[in-house]
Symmetry: C2
Subunit: 237 residues, 2 copies
């Protein structure tokens, strides 16, 4: 089976309902055979796992899938092994990464997705599909054991990418922050994934989805901006 | 001698020159006896240390102080020990914290400031005066050995604090991020220090300076907003 990921910038576009714009893409990605998905709520704080799972399950039930949370499983590693699809939602990337290490499920998830189990992530859930959390926008509210994440794709995503600054405010732009990252980590490619944009990864084929362009940042190279007409397969090279 | 710190939100206000609004406060804080200050440029990447030091020295020379950078010192620990004032500039808080650990100068700086040597920080330099880097806005472009920082004051600062969101953009507000931090770290007080605001710390007396109000965040308590008329000494309790 082929490796398949749907990496979504953000759950909710400005002025829209929760996960609204993502629904047709999720349905098309998961298809009609899957009945249950494994949801990983660890980007939020522990007190909020139940509420978060219910909120996500409401959306997935509409689409015909039951979302069962990993935090309700007796054996988390086994829950990953038996999953028909793995879904990691947004929240705080540091807390999510901390928990992935704490629960020791990183290798399990990687093995499972490598063997063809579909993976959907949004926001923090897309970020942790990359080699490290280092391109997150989140506040470091907890120190994870390591910044290493799932490494399901060989490039970095900056979710919620924007070129719009806060009005009358200084502090670095998103582009400046990504360029700082690249100056210390010159071997990476960074995808600036705007709100409303998604990457569909099928083995080493990458398709931009949604209605936004995508920006690609590389060390000492001009910033490139692509629309859906252009293949992004070079991100795997 | 008393412990003295000037903790500045940001180097540069929107539409102003570099460090412009801070100059009268820095002059008044350092006074006329000090001739030379020790500058720590580690919030920027190594290739930029010289340029950064020159830029800061230009401003400090105007005020009557020579800024010598720690990265030019043969023995960094000794440079701290002999400093008449310690200045840490802004940039990336993760890189700064990484270097403070790498150079093993955290205890030296703490001892020196505790014994009365004036400390000035802005942006990342104010954040690292706190117990941890966890309330930074910066991108985690490098993994420091630990999130622990100088612990010169017992509360946290969020520099560049703002209530203004990016227009038509989702993703957490600054207040939401700070509240997430507090839910995992309930014993801290967090000062939202707006651009143009400063805290003058003299032993356990704290005065708000500049022309902005300050917001104080605590776990499970209402957010408080103060102007200069109110004592902030409770931050030490």
């Amino acid at each position: 089976m082929s490796k398949r990921l749907l990496l979504i910038s953000n759950s909710t576009n400005y002025g829209e309902e929760y996960l609204a714009y993502t629904k047709p893409y999720i349905k098309s990605f998961l298809g009609n055979e899957i009945k249950q998905v494994l949801f990983i709520p660890y980007a939020v704080i522990p007190e909020a796992y139940d509420e978060y799972t219910n909120k996500v399950n409401d959306v997935f039930m509409e689409l015909g899938y039951e979302a069962k949370s990993i935090h309700d499983a007796k054996n988390e590693s086994l829950a990953v092994e038996n999953a028909d699809a793995i879904i990691i939602g947004g929240g705080n990337t540091f807390h999510l990464t901390h928990m992935l290490h704490e629960k020791k499920i990183i290798k399990d998830i990687r093995k499972k997705v490598d063997s063809g189990t579909p993976y959907i992530g949004w926001s923090a859930g897309s970020n942790v599909a990359c080699p490290t959390l280092m391109t997150t926008n989140d506040m470091p509210i907890i120190q994870p054991k390591s910044f290493e994440t799932l490494n399901l794709v060989p490039f970095q995503i900056n979710p919620h990418y924007t070129d719009t600054p806060i009005p009358n405010h200084k502090g670095e732009t998103r582009e400046e922050r990504i360029k700082e990252f690249l100056s210390l980590n010159p071997d990476y490619k960074v995808v600036g994934l705007k709100e409303g944009a998604m990457l569909l990864v099928e083995n080493e084929k990458i398709t931009l989805m949604g209605h936004k362009t995508v920006k690609i940042f590389q060390c000492d190279k001009p910033v490139l901006e692509f629309d859906k007409a252009v293949s992004l397969d070079f991100l795997f090279k």
